[in-house]
Symmetry: C2
Subunit: 169 residues, 2 copies
């Protein structure tokens, strides 16, 4: 009765400490592919991806968030952007981006990698686009930090399901 | 080298035609549990869920969307709401809802069910909250329609990955 998809959903955790091992390019591409296969309204696929592997470039992300320690430890950063020209409905487009990022996190987990979804760094949208030479038709939606896990943040909590079900009938 | 998580992500499709078989309550709860285990900013878990199984009640959703045929065929509707009181950042909260819905869709798929993410029905937020007796501290984010698949919409397309990667270095 093992359901590997449900197991992945329930066992995925934010991983913020990473081993030194490099990440295979094929795994990076697989994670992006998983993101791309999220559903989106009108199938508009508003997501765009950057891949930051160069240590010197990655270092420049450190002062742009209070989670500089995570950036420092991560082997690869995957900044995720939205293409404003592809958008049709902000709420639905941002939901699609969330679906895309969740696919990326589940893919990373299934590939033995650790990942964390960084949102606080959105305050540095402009600086990050400048670092990557990207224009303002894109907007930063998240940075996914990746590495082989050194340790896993084991605990996470969720509300009781009864609190979250507002109607049944 | 089979990776069941990636397989689920790549093989999931919107399912809009359903068999008559009822859906087990345990599966409904599992789908909601999968949604609950999505990540959210500050772990604020802004999602709330409704479960609509009663055929008479479900029928009242039909005029509220141009996809009334989907509603008619579905065995269960899972309206997903956001709790405005739990929100802290609209973009990040809407992303979290998208992650939640993607988990629900992947869970449904892994359980042999078909599902489709209905967004056009958001225009009927007010009417739907009225049908369910819910106040305006909630806002409708999507309706997930569920049933055992009668047929699957086999095809879906994605842009080429090269078009979506805006930076690599």
């Amino acid at each position: 009765m093992e359901n590997p998809v449900l197991s992945a959903i329930y066992s995925r955790r934010s991983v913020r400490q990473y081993a030194q091992d490099p990440i295979e390019d094929a795994k990076i591409k697989e994670i992006i592919k998983a993101g791309m296969w999220a559903p989106s309204g009108l199938n508009n696929q508003p997501w765009r991806f950057a891949i930051v592997k160069d240590p010197e470039l990655k270092k420049k992300f450190e002062p742009l968030t209070k989670y500089s320690r995570v950036i420092k430890g991560a082997k690869v950063l995957l900044p995720v952007f939205i293409d404003k020209n592809a958008m049709y409905h902000p709420v639905k487009d941002h939901q699609a981006i969330g679906a895309c990022i969740e696919n990326m996190l589940l893919a990373a987990h299934s590939l033995g990698l650790g990942a964390v979804w960084l949102g606080e760094i959105l305050k540095s949208d402009k600086e990050i686009r400048k670092l990557l030479g990207l224009g303002d038709d894109l907007e930063l939606m998240a940075v996914v930090a990746l590495g082989y896990p050194a340790s896993r943040d084991q605990k996470s909590r969720r509300k009781d399901m009864k609190e979250l079900i507002v109607f049944e009938g």
